[in-house]
């Protein structure tokens, strides 16, 4: 466990507010949830993805960006509804498709999954942590608190 990344997380930005507590999963490549994640199981189903088969449900997922189909918003909202979504998403680049899935799920079900754009230093720090380390994310409208 390390708390190093938390110190530099202040430049990170809330894309969608919410709170999360869960084990870290760092994705090595961008992922399109549509065609890439099964919302009934929460697993990666894209055979082209290096982490094919990995479980996203309940994890604080660090990823470079979303990718591909714009239907991924629905897949994320459906996974949030069904409890198979990541607990939180920490991105290197802001991703409108993932934000929209989080916005819709918050409107419909009152479930707030935090989506955060990490500043470059924090992103690098988080990608160096071991998968499974527990993280807490509190993303409010203007500030982000990350603790690992």
């Amino acid at each position: 466990m390390t708390s190093e990344p938390a110190a530099s997380a202040t430049q990170s930005r809330t894309l969608h507010p919410g709170q999360a507590h869960g084990p870290l999963l760092v994705l090595e490549a961008p992922l399109s949830l549509w065609g890439g994640m099964d919302p009934t199981t929460g697993r990666i189903t894209d055979e082209h993805h290096p982490q094919y088969g990995a479980e996203l449900a309940g994890r604080v997922v660090v990823l470079p960006s979303g990718r591909g189909s714009s239907s991924s918003s629905s897949v994320l909202a459906e996974a949030i509804r069904g409890g198979t979504a990541p607990a939180g998403l920490l991105l290197a680049e802001p991703d409108p498709i993932l934000v929209l899935g989080a916005l819709a799920a918050a409107e419909l079900y009152g479930l707030a999954v935090p989506v955060v754009q990490l500043d470059p230093a924090s992103y690098t720090s988080y990608t160096r942590l071991h998968d499974g380390v527990w993280l807490t994310v509190r993303a409010e409208a203007w500030t982000v608190h990350l603790r690992g």
Binding site: H16, G35, S69, S72, S74, E78, P96, L103, E107, L108
Partner: protein
């Protein structure tokens, strides 16, 4: 709008639009003249709950809005192999979007059915191939919108001023130079989906610029290229110098920015892309899938010409090989009027409308190997449907279906 003075549906839609605008650091919202909605494809309860909430709140679109494919062929409902509950929900979702005032076009290629915004026009389009076509081929301006935002933009007539709405984001950032490719390759059909696949892989989220494509490259080939680039990468726009409206010259495509590194595409690169998209290693064929994105009228003409000199002289497809062509009901009506569909049906082929064979279960469950001329279909179908794919041109698809074996020329 946000405060409910235009009704609760508009207020909800505006919360989504402004929520996205905040996340993307948009300076303001801009008015859009049309929308293309992809949210009508069923992905589970959440999408249906959202559409029905908007209906309950009395929502109505305020700009002309077309609808992307649904999960059902409403004209040929017997084609769906989805379970009864999914079919019911998928139908309810499609009904909700028409109740909201969107046109029941049910196509991923609205640009083939008269929805063609002009150069510089701001629109809110969803579905990755429609987005890349609108930006690149029409010169309209849309960011890469997804589910939920599309209908919210249609209800509010507003979208965040971000991404490809802005001139700076439309500048070419990667050059793919195809001038070294021989003319036979440049005029071959499969070159275009393969170039698109390479561009998506190479350019990622950037704006690729193609140099050296023939000036008479057809809209169908640009459609195939763009849809492939939007599948293998997050490409929302490309330029083709001398072809697409914002690229009369290379320097215009680059918008005065520094010239990025130039990748000279070689025939081996195309061969690699074809190998990458071909996952089957046998000569067995169970099905052929054409029309991703939706088949156009010129594509129906090409197919009819390959099937027969005249409709009375059609070679039937081999027993056990299913051939599907996905298109819009509008293009189907035109093709039928021209007599282009009779040869396909006489050969034993099936036309699918309102949906597409890779987003909903239509193929037989025992289908293992499918030929397609679409890099997009080849990219998504293995994960979506659990099938293996052979990428082949239209003539190879037809010959293989007739002979019941993969026959590549």
């Amino acid at each position: 709008m946000l405060h409910g003075d235009e009704g609760p549906a508009v207020a909800l839609a505006m919360r989504i639009v402004t929520g996205l605008a905040d996340a993307m650091d948009a300076p303001d919202l801009l008015p859009v003249t049309s929308a293309h909605v992809d949210s009508c494809l069923y992905h589970g309860r959440a999408g249906l709950d959202f559409a029905q909430r908007l209906v309950q709140l009395g929502g109505q679109v305020r700009v002309p809005t077309t609808l992307n494919v649904g999960s059902l062929d409403l004209l040929h409902p017997e084609l769906s192999r989805a379970d009864a509950q999914v079919r019911t929900h998928a139908r309810s979702l499609m009904d909700a979007y028409t109740t909201l005032g969107a046109r029941p076009t049910w196509t991923c290629a609205p640009y083939q059915s008269g929805h063609r915004p002009g150069l510089g026009e701001h629109v809110a389009w969803a579905e990755s191939n429609a987005i890349v076509f609108a930006n690149s081929v029409l010169g309209a301006r849309t960011a890469r919108y997804g589910d939920f935002l599309d209908i919210c933009a249609a209800l509010t007539g507003r979208a965040p001023r971000v991404g490809l709405h802005c001139t700076a984001a439309r500048r070419g950032t990667a050059i793919l130079d195809v001038s070294d490719l021989p003319a036979t390759i440049l005029h071959a059909e499969l070159t275009y989906p393969l170039l698109g696949h390479l561009a998506g892989r190479h350019a990622g989220l950037e704006v690729p610029v193609f140099v050296g494509l023939p000036a008479d490259t057809s809209e169908d080939r640009l459609k195939a290229l763009g849809s492939a680039a939007a599948s293998s990468g997050g490409v929302g726009m490309f330029h083709a110098v001398g072809i697409t409206p914002e690229a009369p010259t290379l320097s215009a495509a680059l918008g005065g920015a520094d010239v990025p590194a130039r990748w000279r595409v070689r025939p081996e690169d195309l061969a690699d892309a074809r190998r990458e998209l071909t996952t089957a290693v046998c000569d067995r064929v169970d099905a052929v899938s054409l029309g991703t994105p939706h088949f156009s009228l010129p594509e129906f003409r090409n197919l009819a010409a390959l099937l027969a000199e005249d409709a009375a002289d059609v070679t039937r497809f081999a027993a056990g090989v299913e051939v599907y062509v996905s298109t819009s009901r509008a293009v189907l009506a035109q093709a039928e009027e021209e007599g282009l569909v009779a040869p396909l049906r006489a050969a034993g082929g099936t036309v699918v409308v309102d949906t597409c064979t890779y987003v909903t279960p239509i193929l037989r469950p025992q289908t293992r190997v499918v030929l397609t001329n679409s890099a997009k279909w080849a990219y998504y179908a293995p994960a979506n449907l659990g099938v293996q794919v052979v990428l082949a041109n239209l003539a190879e698809c037809v010959t293989s279906a007739q002979q019941g074996r993969v026959r590549l020329s």
